[in-house]
Symmetry: C2
Subunit: 229 residues, 2 copies
């Protein structure tokens, strides 16, 4: 079973086909998780929610009541907690429900301290074991995480660019078979090697490194930038 979670970041950043993706997931018996205000947003989409998680301080009383009437498994956190709502959702998905993969929507944009919590989460010892099973998706981006080793990164359709972003110190980082390759890069700080591209008719590239955690962001421009008059 896979899990799909929606957090409360801006609706404008949702993939256009979010509703369809979630309906398909639901039909396959996957787990649908509402993270804080994301639970209300799912309800408003008409989606049946399996788990709701959060301190719900972004909900009004009647909104919370609606969630409580419709969701069997609700996990209340306190605002002054050590784990973020997203981290609680990850713990619940992988530990309690034993899912194999978690796709997270609504976890980018908006308040950037929140986005960075979500981005850096996989660096924490407790969550690092799930790094390669988590994906953050919004309208323009797919973010995946890799621990050290050799990886083949497949091109996702509809994305043009990719960035390779060491989030920690890395040793002998290699990008091979891409437009811009990199050989044995060593660094101690995070850095974003952005705006790389797949080679024509080669829908993958090789990524390897001996230490650390690396994010790969596949991204695309949106039309609105091309049509400003």
């Amino acid at each position: 079973m896979k899990a799909w979670a929606l957090s409360g970041a801006p609706k404008q950043l949702w993939p256009k086909d979010l509703n369809q993706q979630l309906l398909t997931a639901k039909k396959s018996g996957d787990l649908i998780i509402g993270v804080d205000r994301g639970a209300l947003l799912l309800k408003e989409m008409g989606m049946k929610i399996d788990v709701a998680e959060g301190d719900f301080d972004s909900l009004q009383k009647n909104e919370l009541r609606l969630i409580e009437q419709n969701v069997r498994d609700i996990r209340y956190s306190i605002p002054e907690k050590d784990l973020t709502d997203t981290e609680m959702a990850i713990r619940c998905a992988f530990i309690d429900y034993h899912v194999s993969y978690l796709t997270l929507f609504g976890a980018t944009g908006g308040r950037l301290d929140h986005f960075l919590s979500n981005l850096f989460m996989v660096l924490k010892p407790e969550f690092n074991q799930f790094a390669e099973k988590i994906e953050l998706i919004d309208q323009q981006n797919s973010i995946r995480f890799y621990n050290c080793g050799h990886h083949v990164i497949k091109k996702l359709s509809t994305y043009k660019y990719f960035g390779v972003i060491p989030l920690t110190a890395v040793k002998n980082l290699k990008i091979a078979g891409a437009k811009y390759n990199l050989n044995d890069f060593n660094g101690v700080n995070p850095i974003s090697f952005s705006s790389n591209e797949f080679l024509l008719n080669v829908n993958q590239f090789g990524l390897s490194f001996e230490k650390g955690v690396v994010a790969v962001i596949q991204s695309r421009d949106v039309n609105r930038f091309q049509n400003i008059k």
Copy 2:
């Protein structure tokens, strides 16, 4: 002299009063920089641009011609370059124009590999010297950077929350005089201590650390999340 730069990330994320801020800056004799598509966006706002910078591969020919006819100082980069357009703008502002401070709009959101390039830029040795003189602003966030030492962080009006985000290894990180304090935190990886708040009637907090670079993001929710029916 200060500098104000606009990059090409989503218009939707601009502060509501961007136009007014830039007009005020211009009147004070500050430098206005258009970064790649940001140059066209400034032109469309009716703003006089002092410097345009970028590979301009996001512009159509007639759009680039418009920039060339209106901007005296244009710096063309090649797409296959080692510096990002933002990094070129920073070099130009601080080294060539000797500005004292740079505020950057349009550098968040959109393609997140670009945003992370902008966020991690101050970790590069060449740019670290400017870390405390750079601010990234969008509709919900103000991002500032601090090198090690003791800092007093002043509350910006209209922001409710702040996050303290070590972007590198840090030693003895302290947050004092805030809603959630932190004492002698040591870590090797980036982490986001998000959703902190200033104390009531205390419009500042103390931040100190002995090693590394820390971002402070002051942020706010936007009304649209509170009013979804």
